[in-house]
């Protein structure tokens, strides 16, 4: 770092002397000197500014072409009837009106909100508990951390979803284990009452990434707080409740927001496990799956876009509420 700064300094000291000769030739008053100085800084800033844009270019092109462009296109499409095969036709707010009369829209909303509200708190609680446990200085921490993190990497993959289907199928692993202890299992994946449950378990299982973040947060809590608390005679629970949790709230909040948004967008698992149908009888009809079905299954890209925009507003709403509530329970300590 220091070496870098050194070279940067020497460059800046060199450059003025070069250009100064040219300026002196043009002659100048003290005021002119100040002017020149400004101009010099200006040209340097300009050059740097150009570099910034060059380096930002690839990202910016991606942002506009792959993110903002399609988002705006979908906003336009949400006001049209667009079958993919024919050009879009403007129909105003019809798609949005239709949404509120669409039973499957409500079904999808219910499934998704249930999933989010159940699986995210469970997942975070498990992640925190394990992080807390690992933070106590377990031998081979790196191994545990990797092992627990693994599901987070695999969780949204097609392979795991297929595996899940096998584990929770009628003749799956879980039922074989249950049979050993004399319990006759259900068809977990294909029963409308349990199908969503298997997906919630799958999401909770991917607790690794919030756990790693919790772990990093825990490691940064200065031990002196605990020591001081111990001197004051605080027990284990008091220390956890009065020191760990408050100091960890920013991390909890961060994980909560990320996991909420992620859970709202769940697609792969539901798609694979239900074979793309959201079945049995719409029990796993995740919102994004419904958007997909409308868009690519029944050629209603316009309606699908409208549905997608509703999800955006919904997630934004949830996030705003989250940030507002955060003022009451997140302690930044500053």
């Amino acid at each position: 770092m220091r070496a870098d700064r050194g070279t940067a300094m020497s460059e800046t000291t060199q450059r003025p002397s070069e250009s100064e000769t040219g300026d002196i030739a043009g002659g100048g008053s003290p005021a002119g000197f100040v002017d020149r100085h400004r101009r010099k800084r200006g040209s340097l800033a300009k050059r740097e500014g150009r570099a910034v844009f060059i380096f930002l270019g690839p990202w910016f092109i991606g942002l506009v072409g792959i993110t903002i462009g399609p988002i705006l296109a979908s906003l336009y499409l949400s006001f049209t009837r667009y079958s993919l095969l024919e050009p879009p036709e403007w129909i105003g707010l019809d798609n949005f009106r239709r949404m509120f009369e669409d039973e499957r829209f409500y079904a999808a909303l219910q499934v998704t909100v249930t999933y989010v509200l159940v699986s995210v708190p469970l997942q975070l609680a498990l992640a925190l508990a394990l992080a807390f446990f690992l933070d106590r200085g377990v031998r081979g921490l790196a191994i545990y951390r990797s092992v627990y993190y693994l599901p987070s990497l695999l969780g949204t993959s097609v392979a795991i979803a297929i595996l899940w289907r096998q584990v929770f199928g009628t003749e799956g692993l879980l039922n074989q284990v249950l049979a050993m202890v004399g319990i006759e299992g259900e068809a977990w994946v294909s029963h409308p009452d349990y199908a969503l449950g298997t997906l919630i378990v799958l999401n909770v299982w991917t607790f690794g990434s919030p756990m790693v973040i919790f772990l990093a947060g825990l490691r940064q809590i200065p031990t002196m707080y605990y020591e001081a608390a111990e001197v004051d005679g605080a027990g284990g629970f008091t220390k956890f409740w009065r020191i760990t949790i408050p100091l960890l709230t920013p991390i909890i909040f961060f994980n909560l927001v990320l996991q909420l948004i992620g859970a709202f967008q769940t697609f792969t698992q539901a798609f694979v496990i239900s074979g793309g149908t959201g079945g049995p009888s719409d029990a796993t009809l995740f919102y994004t799956l419904y958007v997909y079905q409308r868009g690519f299954g029944s050629f209603e890209m316009g309606y699908a876009s409208a549905l997608a925009w509703f999800l955006l507003v919904l997630i934004a709403g949830f996030t705003v509420v989250n940030f507002w509530a955060a003022k009451r329970w997140v302690h930044y300590g500053d």
Partner: protein
């Protein structure tokens, strides 16, 4: 404390980014770019759905075609059924449709009415339809335009496993006279006299089965003018019958039926595993089901063909070959389709893989060369041809949703969550809704 500020800033930024990406799902997907055409040669893209076996057979036929037409190259795109239509829709939307592709059921109409298919009369000098079966041709004919050529002829019937019948000590039914009551009774008897994992019949509910059942009552799933044709009463009677079968064990319990719904591969069906006595299915599934089960499966006429108002069975194009409306090479594409449906050379490889050849001359030429399984199929189709009812009324745009609506409600009915009367009225209502939206 630094880390807290970091976490907050990062949290906000990350939340923002994640929200922004939410909408990404509606991006258009670009397909493969058109292949290079060297030296004035033409390259056609030919897409179909199906398994490895079909891909090999088709490739052999394509090889003969490219040998005869050295100036035409074919780029095959073999896609599995589950993702075929998603992919096709995307590539058509991106103006990157294959030159020739297969369609089935209500899709030819859906694509044709939306302007995605070539009017075949524009290429008639390269594509002869003279020897093609009339009824089958009608499945590619909509709004006064021939959009598709049938790949072969099929009929919806009952596949039965004589080994399971024998194991249960039940005689094979006389399919000239049997009724739906007989079907239920026989299924029950088989289930009762076989091990627990074997069932008399697979749950028969499907849109084709409903079409058949309603046609026997003088109705049909859709009307000529593209409305819902089936009455709530008929749907309710159907579900009364099938839900009672599931309850009594004649067909599998709801959870097994629901689990099987996502598994289209013949090897994974109960029939393919030798665990079912009867299954309603398309006649061209016989080969795959026979090789999966290893049993000498037979084809039977559907129950109730003679005991009701009218015969419900029909002959249908199992699939059609269609040409993309925006193809750069309509004439060459027509040549390929012509070769596939009208030449004996092609049929020697593809045989009855996409249904019994609809070209009568081709069928005659290859009949002696058919293997046993295909002969059974071809004889069955020939046998029922004089008996079947009118050509099926293909569903209007929007009706491609019907099978999914039916599957959802069927789960509800079999799990006992919705009564049959309620489910029947929901079915009619929702199919009508989808047609209106279509």
């Amino acid at each position: 404390m630094m880390r807290c500020n970091d976490a907050r800033a990062f949290g906000r930024r990350a939340a923002g980014c994640a929200m922004v990406t939410t909408l990404l799902m509606v991006t258009a997907c670009g397909g493969d770019s058109d292949s290079a055409e060297a030296g004035g040669d033409v390259t056609l893209r030919f897409a179909w759905w199906g398994n490895q076996e079909r891909a090999e057979l088709t490739q052999q036929a394509i090889d003969v075609f490219t040998e005869e037409n050295p100036n035409i190259g074919i780029e095959p795109e073999s896609v599995d059924f589950d993702s075929y239509f998603d992919r096709l829709a995307t590539s058509v939307a991106a103006d990157d449709a294959p030159d020739v592709f297969t369609l089935g059921g209500a899709y030819p109409r859906e694509y044709g009415d939306r302007g995605a298919l070539l009017d075949l009369s524009t290429v008639e000098e390269h594509l002869s339809l003279d020897n093609i079966d009339e009824a089958a041709l009608s499945n590619g004919f909509f709004s006064g335009v021939q959009y598709g050529v049938p790949t072969g002829v099929n009929t919806y019937a009952v596949v039965a496993n004589p080994e399971v019948f024998e194991e249960a000590g039940v005689e094979m039914p006389d399919d000239d006279t049997w009724t739906w009551d007989d079907f239920v009774e026989i299924a029950q008897e088989i289930s009762d006299n076989t091990p627990d994992d074997t069932y008399g019949a697979v749950d028969p509910t499907g849109s084709d089965a409903l079409d058949l059942y309603s046609r026997q009552r003088g109705e049909s799933l859709y009307t000529e003018d593209g409305e819902v044709g089936i009455s709530e009463e008929t749907v309710q009677d159907w579900w009364d019958m099938t839900s009672a079968m599931s309850e009594s064990g004649a067909t599998p319990p709801a959870s097994i039926t629901a689990e099987l719904a996502g598994q289209a591969a013949p090897e994974q069906t109960l029939m393919g595993r030798g665990l079912a006595g009867m299954q309603l299915d398309w006649s061209n599934q016989l080969n795959a089901l026979r090789s999966a089960s290893g049993a000498p499966l037979e084809l039977l006429r559907a129950p109730g063909e003679t005991s009701n108002e009218a015969p419900g069975m029909w002959l249908q194009a199992s699939q059609v070959y269609a040409i993309g409306a925006n193809t750069d090479h309509p004439e060459e594409a027509a040549q390929l389709v012509d070769f596939l449906v009208n030449s004996v050379e092609a049929a020697e490889f593809t045989k009855a893989d996409r249904g019994i050849p609809a070209n009568s001359e081709v069928l005659e030429a290859i009949t002696p060369k058919l293997d046993e399984d295909t002969t059974v199929q071809s004889e069955f189709v020939a046998e029922v041809t004089p008996e079947v009812g009118d050509a099926l009324i293909i569903g209007p745009t929007g009706s491609t949703e019907t099978p999914f609506i039916l599957e959802r409600l069927n789960d509800e009915v079999l799990f006992g969550r919705v009564g049959t009367a309620d489910a029947a009225s929901q079915f009619v209502e929702r199919v009508a809704e989808e047609i209106d939206q279509g």
